[in-house]
Symmetry: C2
Subunit: 498 residues, 2 copies
């Protein structure tokens, strides 16, 4: 797989290029950006190219006050960001503008994230995948976090959330943003809580807004904000098996109960809106009351919050601020569709962004699989972006291998959904790979697969010889029982008879 | 996890027992049988206990001519096998008898497989998983194959297919059966082909029946028989991207085209029926024309064969022979339901037994995941048994780790479907595990998971200290941001306020 790009008068669009031995070339969506960062000497302190600088300067010089893409879309202005994503997704800029205008898609793009190569999240576009990175109490260095970012993008992450909660979170975030061609999301509540020394009851709108501005200044593209965890809803979680499993949700619940007051994020949503507008940050309305196990799926608490998120979506839209809405979590297969349907109705088709969901609780250590099943289903029904789950979910902080395993499982889920939705062109890669498989072009089959090295190593485990890369069988069925070889022989004989 | 069993006057029912630290005990379905074979000194040449000996002797002494469970069910006789599976599945023997009678469930049980601890396959019962074992040209020893059998059962395989095609296949099969408490399936065509020195055109009904009888004598419980690959259907595969990908299908297609005659398995189905009756073997009607890639899914060839399988199901039932029907393969998410619906209609609800299906072709090396997604979906819609796919699919012969990885992915898929179908009791394990998770009973969480050792090792990677098995957090979110800990604190405070 080579990095390549489509260079137009205006843009350099990142693409991967796969050249096949039959002369075909296949291009795929590239999340690593147009600049390859994967060389040894890469120094994160340089950051990457600031391709949006001229775009933003133009808007600032004319005195824009709202930097949201929805604001521009509603004024009928096709931005560079819209043209960029249109080329990435092979659709017209007008189509992009319209989807953003009606709120069915968002282009998360803080005006201060000048390194961003824009991408779009919405059900009419390719299904996207988000990877979470960030240290916890067991800290890792800034360099390690930047490396994790690059690693996640390497395996196809479309957006990355920095969920750091440890030390140096400001500086870590700075270098993540300066090195990311992909949108970066955060949960500002985590840093706000650090500012009040971990005491949830000491939180208030001022320290929160201060944090919001600090992070927006750095260039965070979307914020998870738990404004839907209302005071009244907390009691709805009392009978749950696993209570509140969102960190942000449990912090806000604690605040509400302690003060016997309404969630200050809900109460001061207007002030939050102002920050979002000013920087062009998008909402990722957090589902603080998402179910944490099969038993709690689709319960009253979850759907009460979802209704509030629908209300907040409208409020955000009144100010032309872009919104996506977060979803569960843990949901059995038969209850998945209801989640998408309700979210779509209550939030007027604002993009849905779900964590999995896991379709069973009984396989810790394999939750990338339990959740890829739910993720494929929910994305098929209309979820626009999937937050990945790694094999370490519920058990510990993921390492590099876990990040990769989670990403691959989710690229599979997202692609399966694109196929099922009949997304134009989605099946091309499947068809090319299957054709290569049938024609025993092993090298092409490997090259087209999501993880070429692994596919080849599996093949080579039993048949490492170079000649076997042309063999008309593999060790699975062996030379005498290779059905594809038998079919080929059949076709040849039939052809010669005609 | 301990092996245990439920001992009644009549039977010893195999079960797994998990004792939790809160005093609860959880019992789960055990596929390894009532005798633990996992000790060092185990000698496969002894075989395991022949629990069905008295049951079969009784039937032989009274001169039964048909040993099919459907035969007994239709006469209103509740057999030991039916009582055994009723206890395993926690339903009434009458219910089992009725499901077998109407053909909606089968109990594969050759009268010569005396070691069998009966199990049932049907959509009203727990979803089952089959593992394929067997050597290919790269041969392995008999001992290795018996070890693979035990390994597959260890990870929860409900039935095992021996797909050996190499040397010593008779003897290998013998020892697999003599050591298996689970039903064993084969594809007799493979051995028949060896008998005619690999020349498909030299096959005929006599050598086939001879092979069938040889294998039935040994005790094979179900035969995959590709009697639906009709002469006329072969041309329907001409335009396919990957042609015919079933080994049996491609062999029969070759035979038909060579002789310009109808498939001899179809033509002589009555004679095959006679063997099935005599030994009580069940059909697994092979889908020789299943799609081998997304592009070929749900095509004319596939559904033409399915109609013929429906016709053959009726023929088998006329002789009281049990039937299940094999299904695909490679199917995108949105075409999965149609497969189940058509199969159910055309085959009058005879159990469906599908291979995956894979929902995309682009991830060789990860096809246990691409196919677990399809498997969960198709089982939810009514597939009774899932044939697993390992990470090595399309690339090579699976090793032990691949067998385990494939099995776990499929236990997840099967269980997810049981949950979605609302199978009674299916959610108990999820609920117990989630409760243990919420209460930070780490040891219990590990014990209840599908792979306790792996779950524990993932946890211990960052927090290996013994004290951490009681800690109210893990390294994923860290001590200050553990949402479950925060919820617990909240509940405590609320309780103290009341
Ligand atoms: S031997 Fe089997 S798995 Fe390998 S290429 Fe041939 S048909 Fe495919
Ligand atoms: S730290 Fe996070 S993953 Fe670990 S037990 Fe607590 S809530 Fe669960």
């Amino acid at each position: 797989m080579n990095q390549t790009s489509q260079t137009t008068e205006e843009f350099i669009i990142p693409k991967n290029e796969i050249r096949l031995t039959d002369g075909t070339t296949f291009h795929s969506y590239r999340t690593e950006g147009s600049l390859c960062m994967h060389h040894e000497e890469f120094d994160y302190k340089q950051g990457i190219a600031k391709i949006r600088k001229p775009w933003i300067e133009k808007r600032e010089s004319r005195g824009d006050k709202n930097f949201s893409q929805m604001y521009y879309a509603r004024r009928g202005e096709i931005t560079e960001e819209m043209r960029f994503v249109a080329m990435r997704e092979n659709v017209s800029p007008e189509f992009v503008m319209n989807e953003v205008k009606i709120g069915r898609a968002i282009i998360p793009s803080n005006k201060n994230h000048l390194e961003l190569e824009p991408m779009i999240i919405g059900k009419k576009f390719l299904v996207k995948v988000n990877a979470n990175i960030g240290n916890s109490a067991i800290s890792s260095s800034i360099e390690e976090e930047v490396e994790k970012l690059r690693w996640a993008l390497r395996w196809g992450s479309d957006t990355v959330m920095d969920l750091s909660t440890g030390k140096n979170i400001h500086e870590t975030r700075e270098w993540i943003i300066r090195n990311s061609p992909a949108p970066i999301g955060t949960v500002p509540l985590y840093q706000a809580l650090e500012k009040v020394k971990g005491k949830a009851e000491n939180l208030n709108i001022d320290v929160y807004l201060e944090t919001l501005i600090e992070q927006a200044e750095q260039g965070v593209d979307y914020f998870t904000i738990h404004a839907g965890v209302l005071h009244d809803y907390v009691r709805l979680t009392e009978k749950r098996v696993t209570g509140i499993v969102s960190r942000g949700g449990s912090i806000m619940a604690r605040w509400c109960l302690h003060h016997k007051k309404e969630n200050f994020l809900y109460e001061h949503f207007d002030r939050i809106n102002e920050v979002m507008k000013k920087y062009g940050v998008s909402y990722s309305l957090g589902d603080g009351l998402r179910p944490g196990c099969i038993a709690d799926a689709n319960d009253e608490a979850q759907f009460a919050e979802l209704r509030t998120l629908g209300e907040l979506t409208k409020k955000a839209w009144e100010e032309d601020v872009q919104v996506m809405v977060e979803g569960p979590g843990h949901v059995p297969l038969h209850l998945i569709e209801e989640n998408v349907r309700l979210q779509s109705e209550l939030c007027n088709e604002a993009p849905f962004y779900t964590l999995g969901p896991l379709v069973t609780d009984i396989a810790p250590g394999y939750d990338h699989i339990t959740s890829a099943i739910g993720a494929a289903m929910i994305a098929w029904h209309g979820t626009a972006m999937l937050c990945y789950v790694t094999p370490k979910e519920h058990l510990g902080l993921p390492n590099k291998q876990d990040v990769k395993d989670g990403m691959i499982a989710y690229k599979i889920a997202a692609h399966a959904a694109d196929l099922a939705k009949g997304h134009p062109g989605a099946q091309e890669r499947d068809n090319l790979l299957s054709k290569a498989r049938f024609e025993f072009r092993w090298e092409d089959q490997f090259a087209l697969s999501l993880d070429p090295e692994l596919a080849q190593s599996y093949h080579d485990e039993t048949l490492p010889q170079d000649g076997m890369k042309k063999a008309h069988f593999c060790s699975m069925c062996g030379p005498h029982f290779c059905s594809m070889h038998l079919t080929q022989e059949l076709r040849k004989e039939e052809a010669s008879r005609k």
